[in-house]
Amino acid sequence: MTAPAPDPVPASISGERPRAWRRLGWIAPRCVVLWVLVDLGLRFVPLTWFPFRDFQIARRWFPAYAPFLPDQRIRSSYFEGDEALTGNYPRTETRPPSTFTTDPLGFRYTPAAAPGAPPEIMTFRGFSFTWGAGLSDEEIFPVVLSRKLNVNVYDAARFHEDPEVPEDIDRLIEQLGARPRLAVYVHLEPNGHTLDWFRPTALDRAGTAVLGDRFVRLKRSVDYAVLVTATWLRISPLNVLCVRLFKSISDDRLLPNVYRESVLRFTLPDGRPLLTRRDDLERVETVLPEDEVRRRAEYIAWWRDRLADRGIGMLVLLVPEKMSVYGPLLGRPAQPDPLLNRLERHLRARGLTVVNGLSVLAREAPAELARGRLFYFREDHHWNALGVERLSRAVAETLRNSRPAPSPAPLSAQLPH
């Protein structure tokens, strides 16, 4: 049997041609269009009406070469950890209302410890840790470091998906009208960037051959346009509401909670839950080949050299994953030679000044845990205010003892710019 040849004009009860709005062929496509219009319309109403986190609100639009919309001040009492959200666990971790402020360039705002003075230190890389996901303005790493050293610190951290090249530093210096003397490079343990990131593709070579530097600028503009559009498409209130609705019934009663597979739940000594993504735990417990560690160190040293070219010294802060610190305390096998310790050796061998956050936090974690205090959010993988405070203290101590000066760049000639 083939599909029935439908009547050209479906008859109504009276046998007359029904009005258009009475026909499915008229109604259904308009429902689809209506849905699209509602989705688009909701993208223009304030995101504070919906369960979005402050940084997502600030990220709705963003200028080129900065992570957030400039001059935003978002007061928010909404907080839920990434892991709780991902695993659809009931949220048990709360925090007081926080403020998320961005400066006129679109970076997270850092108030001046020394008003009127130019920024002496710049924090960069480290993405959501550095600009402080889940933290209020006064708790973020650059602010706490600024207070400890009593110098102005500029938070130049970008979003993890933004392409970042040394020329961006030039642009920032130009916009700031000042050149920091030191940069704190925040390296996150899972961050696997290597110099391959910068290796030109066949398209790059062909484009540069034809258009020269204009091709590089054009490509960056296209990349930016794609990123902004993709971000705008992703931040859909209607989508979020639908996901929430579906997750609310995937509660292991009405429907199985299929999201739980990706997040593991540990119980702390005081009985509270600690959540971590399965992938994160697997990564922490997997030994990375030495060559890969070396390549990561090369990448960081390459940034040191690029900054040195610009007269800026660099210190590296290595920030461990939550389970690198707490895994061994929660019965997971400890790495005999953890990744960050290996990376630290490679970096020191290249003459870099390094603060290894794993040594600091692992040393203090048992005592703090006994007091019921953690360095990370329980239901999120980011560091909390206590974690920021401890690592800021370690960085400040290192800088008081010796401040890295811009070093000659022995690798500059060999590596791609």
Binding site: A3, P4, P8, C31, V32, W35, L254
Partner: protein, 462 residues
């Protein structure tokens, strides 16, 4: 690209639809539908578009060959053997080569020889479907059932028509030729109401019924040994309806989309769970595949023309290969053999079965189908045996999480599958209230699509 995705509903379908109806000439419409078919297919993996293009070109050239040298029997043989071999080699390489290596390794294992390395081959989505489209075209040209087309765009449009491209139905060229030939004379309004009606029915079957059942039974079936007997029955009953509503849903959406573009795609499911016996089941389940297997394999093997023994042999070969068509795994082979056996037994003892009350025949056939799906669903043969053991011998154990909702959804599924009309038995002329209710169901599906995880159709993997 999935029919049940935002990119399809909100971008691909509207653009394809409006451009199609704004074009006036045959060739423009062929080219547009062929192009959109490649976009639809390439959205998943653009590289495999080349494979489809190659298969299309080979079959088209074979068709031209029939037109030119069709009078010469030797040429005709060559024209059918070469392109069909090419198609089967492609299918064999992508779908069965690792299965063959696995079998070879089992044999080598007994002899103590070094095992062969399995190859890193990605199975192109829908290859089984479009390969069958091209093969049926070549064989029908050879048999003189159709006159091959000289228009390359028409043929490319037939092979890559997005509505039937990746999960069927397996539409033969002859079934679409009339629509394709008259593609420039279609009335846009003609199929719109029925098209949307089929599409929404299919969407509801897939998104609201099959996916809800899957959300509950998939976690349960990961560990069949933990299930109680009731849990195992519920899970397999769930899978039985999930598979039907998933695939029938896809087919209905394909039919609906076809109607929106003036194409009449044939029925693929005719209430299969109302079947009275194995023969009846295969006349109702995946009708387009059953017909292909019958017309191009069973009859080619001799059908029932050469006595009882050869008929049984032909039945078994056909069903074994039919099972293997679904996937390169022993579980599919066993499922095919099981149905071959049922068909053979029915052929031998069917008179007795037919004397049973209709209700008993229906219930009995449904039970036999569920047993068959156990092999179809299981990842390994031992998994299937564990599951069957749980179902047939009383065991304590767990029930699927969400059993309450599962029972409710299964009741709805059962009502539709066993007692309700199928979509081809409906007139699709909705008065305003039902039409608005259908639209509300569509919105319900969109909410589910927006809120849930991506859910590919089960038959994509075949």
């Amino acid at each position: 690209m999935l029919f049940n995705s935002g990119i399809f509903l909100f971008a691909f379908l509207p653009v394809t639809y409006f451009v199609f109806w704004s074009l006036r000439t045959k060739n423009a419409r062929y080219v547009w539908l062929a192009f959109t078919g490649y976009v639809f297919y390439g959205y998943w993996n653009p590289a495999f578009c080349l494979l489809m293009a190659f298969s299309t070109l080979v079959s088209y050239l074979a068709g031209l060959g029939f037109l030119r040298w069709g009078a010469d029997p030797r040429h005709r043989k060559l024209l059918v053997v070469v392109p069909v071999t090419v198609d089967l080699l492609l299918l064999g390489w992508f779908k069965y080569v690792n299965f063959g290596i696995g079998i070879a390794n089992s044999v080598l294992g007994w002899t103590g020889a070094e095992p062969l390395r399995t190859l890193n081959i990605i199975l192109p989505v829908g290859i089984s479907f479009y390969t069958f489209h091209t093969i049926t075209y070549i064989v029908d040209s050879y048999r003189g059932v159709i006159k091959p087309t000289r228009n390359f765009f028409e043929f490319a449009c037939y092979v890559s028509l997005f509505s039937q491209l990746v999960a069927g139905p397996i539409v033969r060229f002859r079934e679409l030729q009339e629509d394709l030939d008259g593609i420039d004379a279609k009335d846009r309004a003609e199929g719109l109401d029925a098209g949307w009606s089929f599409f929404i029915f299919g969407m509801v079957q897939k998104v609201l019924l099959a996916d809800t059942v899957a959300a509950i039974i998939d976690p349960a079936l990961k560990d069949p040994a933990a299930l109680s007997s009731a849990g195992a029955w519920l899970s397999m009953l769930g899978y039985t309806y999930q598979l039907y509503f998933d695939f029938a849903g896809y087919s209905n959406m394909a039919v609906g989309l076809g109607l929106m573009f003036g194409m009449h795609i044939p029925q693929n499911f005719n209430s299969p769970y109302k079947a009275l016996n194995p023969s009846d089941f295969w006349r109702r389940w995946h009708i387009s595949l059953s017909r292909c297997l019958r017309d191009y394999l069973y009859i080619s093997l001799g059908g029932n023309r050469d006595g009882e023994r050869k008929t049984y042999r032909n039945l078994m070969i056909t069903m074994l290969l039919g099972g293997l068509w679904h996937g390169a795994a022993w579980t599919f082979v066993i499922w095919g053999a099981y149905h071959g056996l049922l068909l053979a037994l029915y052929r031998r003892f069917g008179a007795g079965w037919d004397r049973l009350p209709t209700l008993v025949q229906r219930a009995g056939m449904f039970f036999l189908v569920i047993v068959g799906w156990t092999f179809f669903r299981a990842e390994t043969f031992s998994h299937a045996l564990v599951l069957l053991g749980r179902m047939l011998v009383p065991h304590a154990g767990v029930s699927p999480v969400g059993t309450g909702l599962l029972v409710a959804v299964l009741a709805v599924c059962a009502a539709f599958a066993h007692f309700g009309p199928n979509t081809f038995e409906l007139r699709h002329r909705w008065q305003p209230a039902p039409a608005w209710a259908m639209a509300a169901l569509l919105i319900g599906c969109i909410i589910r699509i927006y809120g849930g995880e991506k859910s590919p159709f089960l038959y994509f993997q075949f």
